[in-house]
């Protein structure tokens, strides 16, 4: 008998995480709800002036997306760590970094993609122009996977700590900042009719960098945390 092939293991792990998320959907909806609520509360708290909202809208949406992602990060490994499944992943004959890609992909599908889907609605709420809305979606599509990929390294490092939440934010937030800067200013630029291709290229570069480095770093961090 040959070992189960890597693509098989990858797809079974991905499907397992999606099934788990579906069965825990009340828990999984939290970050999305947070994203919508924070964004919706800003006009109430500051002012409903359309011109002002249009100016601060991109920043609000991106900050909310970033915090929502941070809020959901712990779910990547927490339950696997608690019930011992993480040990089984670590001891599988498959390369751990590839399995990590499946974990992060599942996490993005569960927490990142929904942000993308509701973002146009929030764009309307904050009076963004059509051009800005398009850019917003593009930046979210490029940026949220980066957040999941970077976040996974942080969670892998802190999963063994009982109260790792605070240290996780401190570890991960500084690395989130470039994404926030490029993404929010791209949306603001496109609202002002300025070119955004440079920003988008930088975000895409960050994504490529994160995809190539994060899985190996996450795998190595997990090995340290578990030993």
């Amino acid at each position: 008998m040959k070992p189960a092939t890597l693509p098989q293991a990858f797809s079974i792990l991905l499907r397992r995480d999606l099934t788990l998320a579906y069965r825990r959907r009340s828990e999984m909806i939290n970050p999305l709800l947070f994203f919508v609520l924070v964004t919706a509360l800003f006009p109430l708290g500051i002012s409903a002036d359309p011109a002002l909202l249009r100016e601060i809208g991109p920043g609000i949406i991106w900050v909310a997306a970033l915090l929502a992602s941070l809020l959901s990060l712990e779910t990547v490994f927490r339950s696997d760590f608690d019930d011992g499944s993480l040990e089984q992943l670590l001891l599988s004959p498959h390369p751990l970094s590839v399995l990590m890609i499946a974990k992060v992909l599942a996490h993005w599908l569960i927490t990142g993609l929904p942000l993308l889907i509701v973002a146009p609605l929030l764009g309307v709420l904050l009076n963004l122009s059509t051009a800005a809305m398009k850019t917003l979606l593009l930046t979210l599509a490029l940026g949220t996977p980066v957040l999941s990929l970077i976040g996974a390294i942080g969670v892998a490092l802190t999963v063994g700590l009982r109260k790792g939440g605070t240290i996780l934010s401190l570890l991960v937030l500084p690395l989130y900042v470039p994404v926030l800067i490029f993404a929010a200013s791209a949306v603001a630029n496109s609202d002002a009719g300025l070119p955004v291709s440079a920003h988008l290229s930088l975000l895409a570069a960050l994504l490529v960098l994160a995809i190539s480095l994060s899985p190996a770093a996450t795998a190595a961090s997990l090995r340290i945390s578990m030993s």
């Binding site: 008998m1 070992p3 189960a4 011992g84 040990e87 670590l90 004959p93 030993s227």
Partner: protein, 211 residues
């Protein structure tokens, strides 16, 4: 059922484990061959679990080496993972998944033994629980589901940490006969247990970490 390679050897040389500035054990050496059992004994906190975690490669020893067929297990890495199966103190099953889903996942993380999932569940007397969420299983049933992993995958080296926890006498004899069969097939076993383990094999190496 095909037999395992009779020439497989696990050799530990001068293992030392230090935890929180306390030496749990030092210069521990032993060899485990096909069909043999390593029974790790000792009081609570004497380092039994740490030793098993070192043997399966989750943890590195502070000193010493472990060799599988002559190769360092940290160099073999995933190659060594392919020959080991670990059931730790935690069951490693997902409560939200059904018994079948749990085993499908476990099988994808190892070398499939060719045994059907339904057959494995039957062997663990969990037949009929295929589509029951693990959350609805009793503690003993969960433990048997965790141990059913050993049946759906094929690994010559089983490393079991307190496998009999929460099992009743019938469950214990079920696992013991499963282990006996594994040893007859030429497998090897490293185990800790508070229960007296009754095995057919006379080839048992005992290590007492409290001594």
């Amino acid at each position: 059922m095909t037999h395992y390679d009779q020439t497989d050897t696990l050799e530990a040389r001068d293992l030392t484990c230090i935890r929180d500035d306390r030496s749990l054990f030092s210069e521990l050496s032993f060899t485990l061959k096909s069909g043999q059992v390593l029974l790790v004994e000792g009081r609570n906190g004497s380092g039994k679990t740490s030793l098993l975690r070192i043997l399966c490669g989750i943890r590195q020893p502070d000193e010493g080496h472990i060799h599988w067929n002559g190769g360092d297990i940290y160099r073999l890495a995933t190659g060594f993972n392919a020959v080991t199966a670990w059931v730790g103190h935690k069951d490693g099953i997902k409560l939200e998944l059904t018994a079948r889903e749990n085993l499908v996942f476990a099988r994808s993380l190892g070398t499939p033994s060719g045994l059907d999932i339904a057959e494995a569940l039957d062997a663990m007397e969990l037949g009929g629980f295929d589509d029951v969420s693990a959350i609805n299983l009793s503690a003993g049933q969960k433990r048997r589901l965790a141990l059913a992993r050993l049946l759906v995958t094929r690994s010559p080296l089983w490393i079991l940490d307190e496998p009999f926890t929460s099992l009743d006498t019938h469950g214990i004899s079920l696992i013991e006969s499963m282990i006996n069969k594994h040893l007859v097939d030429g497998g090897m076993l490293a185990v800790t247990s508070h229960h007296t383990v009754t095995l057919d094999s006379n080839d048992i190496t005992r290590i007492n970490l409290s001594a």
